[in-house]
Symmetry: C2
Subunit: 237 residues, 2 copies
């Protein structure tokens, strides 16, 4: 494809840039050791992530007013602690555990790939994570964003169109000057619907080693890359 008109790349974050599942399992296991708990932390992580989608859908369908992801994560966590029988955490410990999403670790190719991409393009997040979460995550992990953009700035969660249009407006670009990068087809389909170019970077391990990832081509996917280094090469950096 002709990449000469692309000025900026926007990135989905959870799953695309960072490996939420491995980070949550690792922190869970530390807590388990400290508290003497035997928990299936992989199932805990997957259930937390699933709860995030359900609670976000309540906001998207206006059954909940605008609510930041940090707050949605905490609502889900409070239920999870009961469901998994995790007792004995102080409020400070729960608060800290909820912020594990601020400490997610990038996939190994993410930072080298982003450093190459930013030599030519503006690179920005376009995530449903709130601004504080994304800012803290970038600082913790060393993610070299030029700019942090969040659905919070539109008060509309992806895949609602307003989230993508907000990014173009704030970057001062037309949507067709932006390529959205994600490991999730629904996100790319919605970005394409607003005129953005799209790059699909499947993350086969996002949900662990047993979940098959669907990677068939689609008319609304402009570019397919195996990871961020491959993306950097395909985008001429």
């Amino acid at each position: 494809m002709d990449v000469s008109s692309i000025k900026a790349l926007t990135f989905d974050v959870f799953g695309t840039v960072v490996d939420w599942r491995t980070t949550i399992i690792a922190e869970g296991e530390e807590i388990g050791k400290a508290k003497g708990l035997t928990i299936d932390w992989a199932r805990f992580a997957d259930t937390w992530r699933a709860g995030y989608f359900s609670s976000m859908d309540l906001v998207r369908s206006k059954k909940l007013p605008w609510t930041k992801i940090d707050t949605l994560h905490r609502m889900v966590l409070d239920n999870l602690l009961i469901e998994f029988g995790i007792a004995g955490l102080s409020e400070a410990e729960k608060y800290r555990l909820n912020l594990v999403w601020h400490r997610l670790k990038p996939w190994p190719d993410a930072i080298p790939g982003l450093n190459r991409l930013r030599t030519r393009y503006i690179i920005a997040t376009l995530s449903n994570g709130n601004m504080a979460l994304l800012t803290n995550m970038a600082k913790n992990a060393g993610l070299p964003w030029d700019c942090i953009l969040s659905a919070e700035l539109a008060k509309r969660y992806k895949p609602d169109p307003e989230a993508y249009l907000m990014a173009a407006d704030l970057l001062g670009l037309r949507t067709d000057q932006i390529m959205h990068v994600a490991a999730h087809k629904a996100d790319l389909k919605a970005a394409h619907g607003q005129g953005m170019k799209t790059a699909f970077v499947p993350r086969p391990l996002e949900y662990g080693p047993t979940r098959e990832v669907e990677t068939t081509p689609e008319p609304w996917i402009d570019l397919f890359a195996t990871d961020f280094e491959d993306l950097a090469t395909k985008l001429g950096t």
Copy 2:
């Protein structure tokens, strides 16, 4: 002062971080040479900056609807070109000149100071410049922001309270966990009014070598620093 409760520093940008006057004069002189024009570029820069304040006040007083700084700068520039008798610029040249604000150069101490400060604090812009302007400026100049915040996100220009409250909300902090840094007293007074801590970094050369800068202490200034390196030292980094 006790700095232990400070989590983030927000920075005014035009004049505080970057030297708008010198950059505009330098780019003006290049244009003058190329076009064979004899213009007082220092007066041109000062008049542009003054026009920015007047046009922003039209937005603050609701005589103009919300308008980005890039657009306000262009409105002022179009008048300036007539006033200074600068003819013969193509639309592409005017467009490029207007974006000189995206290319402003930092004061020499700014980047070394910010790099020290960001080892301990979240550092973010809190500027009336629009997001695209601040993002491009950071990329051009290598300013190491953790996060770019703009009055554009509140659609209210500083010193309106909403601009400061927006920063605290998006950073997920109380205003008293944030220190606002500026070379302009009115900005600090307004930040203090919303509960922020304040640091005054006078920039005696902002308006050139002949304009005296008023640096008397004020009850709403918490910290006085001669430059960003001095600020980094005083904030324990």
